[in-house]
Symmetry: C2
Subunit: 148 residues, 2 copies
């Protein structure tokens, strides 16, 4: 439904949201999110360009979220790395399909529904549900979570 | 939202639904659906294995739908070639995430919503909307449609 890249970006963003102001290195993020380091480095670069994360250089450098997690939606993260594909024009390029045919209209309606659903969840909500003990904490086993 | 392969499969199925009992060759389907012939041949093979299309060999052979289009949903076609990815277990493999964390629960809810939406549309409905003149006919320009 969402791509591997989007899934990895969401893990990284959830992790940074949990860590607050403390910068996290690619290595640290890769370990907890269980994403290959090279792949994660590319994802972090894209998130940086979209101003979702902020990179601080230097000895105590690393990544922090550039947007408060209560203002950052799941959709924002997905759109930054691998956007939901909407269908604006006939994919077959038929010139007089100025409005979409029923097949493509139905597929685009579904894409719009996905955007709406992902846009309705903020990153801070995902962590809050776990904090209230209603679900496991994203990325952590309950043992790690106790220590974090 | 859906893959290129699923989009191509849907075009082929809509075309066959429109053609009824008359078998259509890969070449004929490829032309109207504007899908590269080699790619389409693979898609048709997969649709055949899933018993959505029926292949008749020989001189007047070709593909017909194996399921009445009023009983065939958009979801059936998508699931046959490139299924909607549901999240049943923690993708990070965290052993004590027996129920999904809020991140993966939210993503799976969205996938479930997509399944439901695509399952609510039959192939015959997509053609019926166009027949009533409420939208352009899938795959055809209005000029071709007059002749078909």
């Amino acid at each position: 439904m969402i791509s591997q890249t989007a899934e990895y970006a969401l893990r990284a963003v959830v992790y940074l949201a949990d860590k607050g102001d403390a910068p996290q290195t690619t290595q640290q993020i890769a370990e907890v999110t269980r994403v290959p380091t090279g792949y994660l480095a590319k994802v972090m670069h894209t998130l940086g360009r979209s101003r979702i994360v902020h990179a601080r250089r230097g000895l105590h450098g690393g990544f922090t979220l550039a947007v408060p997690p209560e203002k950052l939606t799941v959709l924002d993260v997905v759109q930054a790395v691998d956007p939901v594909q909407r269908i604006e024009h006939c994919p077959l390029g038929i010139p007089d399909h100025k409005s979409l045919c029923p097949l493509h209209a139905r597929l685009d309606d579904t894409a719009a529904m996905v955007e709406k659903a992902l846009g309705a969840s903020t990153i801070s909500e995902l962590l809050a549900v776990a904090k209230r003990g209603e679900a496991p904490k994203p990325l952590y086993s309950s043992e790690d979570a106790r220590g974090s």
